[in-house]
């Protein structure tokens, strides 16, 4: 990762005008002048975000055939389809920066691209579907609500659309958890166990503390990010703890307590070594996720081939008719 946010090669006048626009709260559009570094940072961030949506389909896709009722199954299918849509919105936004989606997809399939570390954890029980909707989508909403005000127009607009849809994801997840938490002792144990596994990884989704995040300062300066990782994490904890309390779930953190002065739920130390291991590719499911993604891509080859062949045939037919 290049950590040198140098913009010395840019035309100082253009750069000053660009930064003035950002400071004035204007949104930057694809054809506007932007520093190469801004383009690069956005491409990195948006493509990782798009990949996360695509890989995010896999842990939940695993449970579609095992959903406990038709109602749950319909919701889960709709949610997984939404994630595909979200991936496509953001790939489309990334393409406005001058990259090809094809290259991004290639980078994901051959393992060069990063995506959210949370999807490298296994989904072991049905309760995981609830906890993922509630915590993982809940964390994503906190993050994306702020990204919806990002300085890059296409990214911000994709986020507005995604946030609307993810509210359904979160609510269906919380409903699953609330039903299980009020169910039999076995169901209650199942949802508590799932919560225990996903709580800390969900906090890690916001990324390392800003003091340790190489990209934060620059992204904040250019208003790609509007809040620090730590601020967003705190917001998520403050929102989620009362929701857990309401359905009788215990947060697996002995240090968790409400700070009466700030109104913040103070939480314990995050195990960052785990985060970096998962990021490096050593999480429980990194390999399995990429294999599943590659298989899905390969299995879809005939559909793409058929669509191309059909388009060519139609084209040939219409040009013969015209002749």
């Amino acid at each position: 990762m290049d950590q040198n946010p140098t913009v010395a090669t840019e035309d100082p006048a253009l750069l000053a005008a660009f930064e003035a626009r950002i400071a004035a709260g204007e949104s930057i559009e694809p054809k506007d002048w932007m520093p190469e570094r801004y383009r690069k940072q956005l491409t990195r961030m948006m493509s990782q975000h798009a990949h996360s949506e695509i890989v995010g389909m896999l842990p939940e896709g695993n449970w579609i055939t095992r959903a406990p009722s038709l109602r749950r199954k319909m919701s889960l299918i709709a949610k997984v389809q939404d994630e595909a849509g979200h991936g496509l919105y953001i790939y489309c936004g990334t393409e406005t920066l001058g990259v090809d989606r094809h290259d991004l997809v290639e980078a994901l399939l051959d393992g060069r691209a990063k995506y959210s570390s949370i999807f490298n954890y296994p989904t072991l029980s049905w309760a995981d579907m609830g906890v993922i909707g509630w915590l993982v989508d809940g964390a994503a909403i906190v993050n994306q609500t702020v990204l919806a005000k990002a300085s890059y127009g296409p990214y911000a607009r994709a986020m507005v659309r995604i946030c609307k849809e993810e509210n359904f994801h979160k609510r269906q997840g919380y409903e699953i958890c609330s039903v299980l938490a009020n169910g039999t002792p076995a169901q209650k144990a199942m949802v508590q166990e799932a919560f225990n596994r996903f709580w800390w990884p969900s906090l890690m989704m916001f990324g390392p503390s800003d003091t340790d995040s190489p990209n934060s300062a620059e992204l904040l300066k250019w208003r790609v990010k509007r809040k620090t990782n730590d601020e967003l994490r705190q917001r998520f904890v403050n929102l989620t703890v009362p929701q857990a309390v309401a359905i009788g779930i215990t947060v697996p953190d002995p240090d968790l307590h409400l700070d009466a002065g700030t109104g913040n739920w103070e939480f314990g130390e995050i195990e960052w070594s785990e985060f970096f291991e998962v990021l490096k590719g050593n999480g429980p499911c990194n390999r399995e996720r990429l294999e599943a993604r590659r298989k899905a891509h390969d299995d879809g080859a005939w559909v793409r081939a058929a669509a191309s062949a059909y388009a060519e045939k139609q084209q040939a037919r219409s040009s013969t008719a015209a002749a």
Binding site: K31, D82, C92, A311, Q315
Partner: protein, 95 residues
């Protein structure tokens, strides 16, 4: 050709009958018919549109943001095109 990325189409949605079409995003598709179907699946899963347009991205001609000043200038210096430019007697309801 299996991994071809296909041409890019810009998608416009009409949220309700009688309203203007708005740009929603883009899709890749081998032809217009599939572009419409992909656009429906990506941009209209919750009744966001009653009609869709898909347009090959290459067909769009756009103004350059850097020329926005001079390009739109003729419109900016003609306040007499706005009703507020004109003085009406006090107490008369003009609008």
């Amino acid at each position: 050709m299996a991994d071809s990325q296909w041409p890019l189409w810009e998608v416009f949605t009409q949220p309700n009958k009688g309203e203007p079409f708005e740009h929603a995003g883009s899709v890749h598709a081998p032809d217009g018919e599939l572009a419409l179907q992909n656009a429906r699946d990506v941009y209209a899963r919750r009744g966001e549109a009653v009609n869709l347009w898909v347009v090959p991205s290459t067909a769009i001609v756009a103004s350059a943001p850097s020329d926005a000043g001079p390009f739109f200038d003729p419109g900016n210096d003609k306040p007499y095109r706005h009703p507020q430019f004109y003085i009406a007697p006090r107490g008369v309801r003009v609008f």
